[in-house]
């Protein structure tokens, strides 16, 4: 088989703010290029996980290859590399971009540029991609394509006058997009005969094929039998199969050569061996240096996950192992809590990642979980000169042994309409933000720049942002640095006993407020028992807040329902059942809901 003509290949991705119509446009491109009939089209072909479809976001990057017969009479191969649409997955986005020559930038004709749009554009520009703006949702009554085009030119500095004005939903002007892909996005270059150099931009575990590597070949050629090697992880294996991406299926082919996008399988069992961003080369004829930009993704947010039913601990471990096969960014290690028993300290890219994993565990693996408050990685510098990292508040040494601590700080950009600037600035101040500056995108919209401690935004910052801006604010951040901070460990004592699962690390300035709120919340959640139960929040030995659950005085059924004994028994059974769902801490029974309730302190 002859080599594929590089000049007929277009490798591109679509970047957009969430909800601006990325998946819908992808669907239309697949549809119009005729790879699938309309009947085969399910809405949003690319998002094939249920969860993704329900939440309307793309979690794992997916890729599809289609064939487009252009107006010049030639057939072009389109490799559309889908990118995850959330700040948690920024690194995955950057690797997907690195596999492309161009990017379609979708901007909502009504909403205009958002923080995430900007962040993605900058990422794409960093990778020298040709950016092709597209104005979507022109069918909306509130659409203002001209305004948005001017905004793109003013803010990003991109020529946008000839941007296709489309409605992906209705299929309007999609041909124009396809033609521009052919004409504007450069064809790949690369020497097919050079030593193999391929970029891994995703991988996935399949029970039959093992790990499937999603790869963009930069140079050289890979085929069945090639002895390949991952340059960063050092893993090596013989290639079993190479192929290209049909919509929703893998189509084997003879070889993948420079410029092509496709998949490689080898009998690798662990996605951790095939990390996103790593370079695949030929072990027998290696390239001289790996592609730039590889980094090992690190978890940013941690929490404890415990099975509600202690006997399900092995099930939880199995489920986490299975999820990890497909998600190298998910970390977990066993931990034990006096209050919650055996569980795992799990690491995530961000809060959304955490929520997705939690939901998948509950939904796909039928596990009932108790989750502890999410936290970040703190650096602890001890008085004896040693330094270490803490993700679980319980592992924090005695305050007397701590010289100082550091916490992660992010650089955040918030795009908001001017009327809400005040409200958002107030929010950032409450979250210990440091104001860096503000730019007016246009007269009605501003870009706020802040430094924010990561631990202030992992709880409910998104929600607060949305509610205080009536949904108009958008937000993006990246880790900036670790910074010295006045942090304390806040302990919760229930009936004078410290409950390890409720401890957390917090800035000294907000400790009192949080402690008070937690005590109030716990008071609501803990049912009255035979004795009075003090609930205290303490820093070291100093109690800073207290509530009391009064003793139960009465739990008696005076009337007897005649001879209806079964009614009475049902009542008692319900009572017993409720007790089963309690965790025993000292001699106090704490419902599992209490552990979860403290995660939502700022709802009010």
């Amino acid at each position: 088989m002859s080599k594929v003509d590089q000049s007929k290949i277009r490798n591109f991705c679509i970047i957009a703010h969430i909800d601006h119509g990325k998946s819908t446009l992808a669907d239309r491109i697949i549809e119009k290029t005729g790879l699938l009939t309309s009947r085969e089209m399910q809405a949003q072909v690319l998002d094939n996980m249920d969860l993704e479809r329900e939440r309307g976001i793309t979690i794992k990057a997916q890729t599809v290859r289609t064939v487009y017969k252009a107006k010049d009479g030639q057939e072009y191969i389109f490799n559309l590399i889908d990118t995850p649409g959330h700040v948690d997955f920024n690194y995955e986005v950057s690797r997907s971009l690195a596999a492309c020559e161009g990017a379609i930038l979708i901007v909502d004709a009504a909403q205009g540029i958002e923080a995430q749009t900007l962040a993605n554009v900058y990422l794409a520009l960093d990778h020298d991609l040709e950016i092709m703006p597209v104005i979507n949702k022109i069918d909306l009554p509130s659409a203002e394509p001209d305004r948005v085009i001017n905004e793109i030119e003013d803010v990003i500095g991109l020529e946008a006058q000839d941007a296709p004005r489309i409605s992906a939903k209705l299929g309007t002007n999609i041909e124009e997009v396809l033609e521009q892909i052919v004409n504007k996005i450069p064809a790949p270059v690369g020497d097919c005969d050079a030593p193999l150099k391929g970029l891994i931009f995703d991988s996935l575990y399949d029970a039959y094929k093992g790990v499937i590597i999603f790869c963009r070949i930069m140079e050289g050629t890979v085929k069945k039998g090639t002895k390949m090697k991952m340059m960063a992880t050092g893993a090596s294996a013989d290639v079993v199969e190479v192929g290209i991406f049909g919509a929703g299926q893998f189509i084997p082919c003879d070889e993948l050569s420079a410029g092509m996008v496709g998949y490689i399988t080898a009998s690798l069992k662990n996605v951790a061996d095939t990390r996103v961003g790593d370079t695949v080369t030929d072990a027998e004829n290696p390239c001289d240096e790996p592609l730039p930009g590889y980094k090992k993704v690190n978890s940013m947010v941690y929490c404890g996950m415990y099975p509600a039913d202690g006997a399900k601990y092995p099930d939880l471990r199995d489920a986490l192992e299975k999820l990890q096969l497909n998600d190298a960014a998910l970390g977990f290690e066993p931990e034990t809590s006096a209050a919650l028993g055996f569980g795992f300290r799990c690491g995530f890219l961000g809060l959304l990642h955490l929520e997705i994993i939690q939901e998948r565990l509950e939904r796909e693996y039928n596990l009932d979980l108790v989750t502890t408050a999410p936290g970040v990685i703190y650096k602890v510098f001890k008085t004896d000169g040693t330094e270490f990292e803490v993700t679980n508040p319980s592992n924090l040494p005695d305050p007397s042994e701590i010289e100082h601590m550091e916490e992660p700080i992010v650089a955040a950009e918030i795009m908001v309409t001017t009327e809400y600037v005040g409200a958002i600035m107030k929010l950032c101040q409450e979250r210990r933000g440091v104001y860096l500056g503000m730019e007016y995108i246009e007269t009605t919209r501003a870009l706020l720049k802040y430094e924010l401690p990561l631990n202030e935004i992992i709880y409910d910052f998104f929600d607060a942002l949305k509610s205080r801006s009536r949904g108009y604010a958008s937000f993006d951040y990246e880790l900036k640095e670790y910074r010295k901070s006045d942090l304390v460990k806040l302990d919760i004592l229930i009936n004078k006993e410290e409950v390890d699962a409720l401890s957390f690390i917090v800035h000294a300035s907000t400790a009192y407020e949080r402690g008070r709120k937690m005590c109030e919340k716990l008071k609501e959640e803990i049912p009255r028992q035979l004795f009075e139960i003090p609930i205290q929040a303490a820093i070291g030995s100093k109690v800073i807040a207290r509530e009391t659950v009064k003793a139960m005085r009465k739990d008696v059924l005076a009337k007897c329902y005649g001879g209806d004994i079964s009614r009475k028994k049902k009542l008692l059974e319900k009572q017993k059942e409720g007790k089963k769902r309690m965790r025993q801490v000292g001699n106090v029974e704490i419902p599992q809901s209490a552990f979860m309730s403290v995660l939502k302190l700022d709802d009010e």
Partner: protein
Amino acid sequence: MSDKLGLYVHIPFCIRKCLYCDFVSVSANKDYIDKYFKSLYEEIKCFKVNKSCSVDTIYIGGGTPSSVDEKYIKELFEIIYLKFDVDDDAEITIEMNPGTVSMEKLKVYKECKINRISIGAQSMCDEELRKIGRIHTVKDLYECVRMARSVGFDNINIDLMSALPGQSLDDYKDNLYKIIELRPKHISSYSLIIEEGTPFYEMYEGKNRDEISEQYRLADEDEERAMYKLTREVLAGNGYERYEISNYCMKGFASRHNSRYWQGMEYVGFGAAAASYYEGRRFKNTLDIDKYISSNPIPKDEDYILTKEDKMEEYMFLGMRMIKGVSASLFRETFGLDIMDVYKEVIERNVARGLIEYKNDCIYLTQEGIDVSNLVFSEFLL
């Protein structure tokens, strides 16, 4: 000794339903009542008595059995006496609402050999009675007791409620003394429970629950417990002994029928929603009066055979409602197991926290244990 049986008959009719009531009862016209009794008589006639036994307690409850024409009660007893072998000294009770009583009715009851009357007084204050939706007045209650005695009913129970809307401890104490003055043989005193599906539930647990006026405020737990303690102390000082969580009597006048429930003895219930425990089975008629009238056989709301575990649980959580508690030796005799083999941990834990005592073969709730008896009972479920 031939087996003894208790009979319960449910009359699900009231002039008007009280605001706190979640029992099966309706107000109905003559025609509907007529149909109901037809079905009731049929049910009794068709009941299969599988063994030789005699009836030693009968309880006509409701609803308000005294609200229906006395001819129905008359016919009911004719059928019962034809069907069952009723002991001469059987305890035969009928429930009454003081607002529905007449000399004619009482005389018929007497002819039916009814020998115990249970009067729902609930309060001795007209304003309280009005607030909870009772149809009678305090005057009606006095009149009712007088008439009952004049016809020869001496074994009288009076039901009293505590923790009523707006009721203070003194208000309740006043009610209690007024009842004592009447010298009934038996007093049942229970606190108001806000049950789902009642107008009071809407009022106290519904969306306007924070807007309850002072006049309708309910006693908090401390006040409610104070009323309970007062009841025991005052009644004990006046010759009434507490023999069950909510029941007090003069010596020898404990309700034999209700005691059957606590002691795992057999009873058969007739009428809508009536529950039975017969030959190791617990079953209950449909709660739907329409269905009760129109269906044959009568649909069962539930019907199950007790396992040995069920029986042991019931032995404990029913038996311990009685102040004397349960007997360990009787447990062994009944189940062939030592009570400590089954319940060692639960008994020891509850003895340790002062909720039950185990003395001289008896296991019983302490004063503190009574206050939280549901918690204790729930732990005896296996």
